[in-house]
Amino acid sequence: MFKAITGATAVTAAGVLLLAGCTSTGSTSSQPDSAISPGASHKATTVTVWTFNHLPNEVAAFKATLDRLHAKYPWLTVKFVPNKDDAAYAKAVAAGDPPDVFISSTPDNVAKFCYNGTVTDLSPYLSSAKIDTAKTFPPATLVYTRYQSKQCALPLLTDAFALYYNKKMFAAAGITKPPTTLAELTADAKKLTVKNADGSIKTYGFVPRSDYDVNRYLFVGAHSGTSFYGKDGRTTFASDPKWQQLLTWDQELIDYYGKANVQKFVGRYQPHADDAGNPLLTGAAAMEYDGEWHVGEIATEKKDFDYGVVPMPVLDGSSGTYGTGSTLGTVAYLSAGSKHKQEAFFALQQLTTDTTFLNTLADTVYNIPTTFAALKAWDKRDDPHWKPFVDIFENTHSSYKAVTPAGVEDIDTWRAFLLDYEQGKTKDAASGLATVGKKIDSLNSESGQ
């Protein structure tokens, strides 16, 4: 018996090791001969679309569009699966059963998926469909959907970030116009700060700490006239003195309020960044750096709130960049393992370029449409609260950092450094910047950059 069991176990173990070496079988290699002609008849095909979206209104918007798509092209049926993240997608790919199209909430893994062959280079499909990306999508979106010369994904709505401010508080403090430089922001923040009788802070002018709300996007380069990666693909933290100036600005404002007070603020308001307890809405902060979706949230939570939106101030000495900002958004991939890439691309093309769909979904999730045509047709583009975001998005200098095969690990490493610096664990900004730069460069070279 023992021999039988050990024998079976040995055989199983050998099989296991063999199987362990066998992961997903690889991509299918169909190249587009010619684009699917919308008017022509076509063999009935079902493509699977996974998306991170999960809220009922988002799912409803998707389904309505896909139903419309099916009605227009009856041969195309889309099996729509919501609530899937990058991890679920990678697992499905590893299991050899990826969806044909995957819509991710973040572009951070674009280069990783592209480098690993997980997703298809869309360039030949775009060419055969006669879609010129430069004429279709604003340049900011191409920064985070391309890796090297490959178009690894297409944008599907985007975020832009700007400064929100309480107009009444500005007027009460005698501030006549919003700041355009970080030095002005600090001066205004101090004027707007209100203390209680016991010395505690009632209203903060502006809280810059990098882990609060979306402040992390303040530190990727757009607002300091810097670039996260240089032309050689290496970080610029050690070579560009503006990074140190940015950190100094951040630290000075934190020190002004006191680390403990800032910690208390972050702890108190972090869970309420996107609800009625938001500090801008409750009066606990006079200014806030936030994404465009906050406009929609304010309209829902506090309709009569009197506020303004302007581009985020920039580092002094780089005022030429005022008006730019960080922009990044949702991306849609075509799986390399898709068994009907032509049809899947056709579905992806509809989802990423159909003006009605983009604008409906943008209105539903409070994001910005991502084609020139959709932006032009969007009824919110001239709204005083939405316009600054559209302008930032369309600004040719706005961007996110370049994406690399390290995925999200580079920005995570950067954020860990920022927190260490803000908490005083890293004392010397210059050497800290050099060290974190080397770490990120090393991560990238190990990942295949």
Partner: protein, 332 residues
């Protein structure tokens, strides 16, 4: 007296002869196949769901495999293991946080369970009610209890309001790096009812005569606890500490839920370790490496290292425990 056990299907004393080659299969061998057939669901299940994943992770740990990648998998030897110690800052943060929990939370939880059991068995009326009340939290699913604590310990939540009424400025609990781990310890104490029940049973099992003898020798309550109760329940203390240690080395769900609930603004990957990596534990870091960075090989190396550490710690703990664990019958 020596007892010789006959193989299954043979009567004691039956002469055993080797069957001729190619001859009829012996009844005992045919019986083994029946046994194997009955065992096969387990054997197959074990091979597929235990042996395969374990062997696969060992193999992956020696490669650069990334989940979802179509690139050829390269054998990298011990590179992933070396990288753990030499290239990652967060690895050491996770190790430090995990050790903190093992050193602080496990003894506190064991001590608290012992104390509550000791108090409850002294209650004259309604002992069962109190025991049930203390036990109930351990039946609440971990995710639900973590969410409850997030609400209870919210910076403007009920507890801080209560503290405010008595003039105490409550901390940020799960949102302050200095308080996040102690908050998890509080949650662990609240849910220690399962350990309390075992302590309670062990304490009630201590022979009454031992206490009477101690009383005759003039021992007070504290001396009786130290000299009678503690030695008598030492196997249970050992059990609670050992299982607690193993559980805490793999601590994940509570930290993951606490981090994600205290930080409402970020994507799933940003939630790990919040605030400021103070809740980054070994298993959460392993999850991040495997499912956010897709470094399956590296995460597998982490998993194997964790297994080896837990195994070694268990062996050491069992050896050390021989000095303080008293077993029934007078042995240690």
């Amino acid at each position: 007296m020596t007892t010789v056990l006959a193989p299954v299907g043979e009567a004691p004393g039956t002469a055993r002869t080797r069957p001729a080659r190619g001859g009829r299969r012996s009844p005992s061998r045919a019986r083994w196949w029946v046994v194997l057939a009955f065992l096969s669901p387990f054997v197959i299940g074990f091979a597929v769901f235990v042996l395969y994943p374990v062997a696969a992770t060992l193999y992956y740990s020696l490669t650069d495999f990334q989940a979802g990648s179509y690139r050829p998998v390269q054998f990298v030897g011990l590179r992933n293991y070396r990288a753990l110690f030499t290239q990652s800052d967060t690895f050491w943060v996770a190790v430090r946080n995990t050790l903190w929990m093992v050193v602080v939370m496990v003894p506190l939880r064991t001590g608290w369970a012992m104390l509550t059991a000791w108090v409850i068995i002294r209650v004259k009326r309604g002992r069962a009610v109190y025991r049930t009340l203390f036990f109930l939290p351990s039946m609440v699913p971990v995710v639900a209890s973590a969410l409850s604590f997030i609400v209870l310990l919210n910076p403007v939540g009920p507890l801080n309001r209560l503290l405010g009424w008595v003039g105490v400025d409550g901390p940020g609990w799960f949102s302050d790096p200095a308080w996040s781990k102690p908050s998890l310890v509080l949650m662990a104490l609240w849910a220690s009812g399962n350990v309390m029940v075992i302590f309670s049973a062990a304490m009630l099992d201590v022979p009454r005569e031992l206490y009477e003898a101690a009383e005759l020798d003039g021992a007070g309550a504290l001396q009786k606890f130290r000299s009678v109760t503690l030695p008598a329940i030492s196997p249970v203390i050992f059990f609670a500490l050992l299982t607690g240690m193993i559980y805490t080395f793999q601590y994940f769900t509570e930290a993951f839920v606490a981090s994600s609930s205290a930080n409402a603004t970020s994507s799933s990957n940003d939630l790990i370790g919040y605030p400021a990596n103070s809740l980054l534990f070994y298993s959460t870091e392993l999850y991040r490496q495997g499912f956010a960075y897709f470094k399956t090989g590296y995460a597998s190396a982490m998993a194997w290292l964790l297994f080896l550490v837990i195994f070694a710690a268990t062996v050491v703990f069992i050896r050390v425990s021989r000095r303080f664990v008293h077993h029934a019958g007078g042995g240690r």
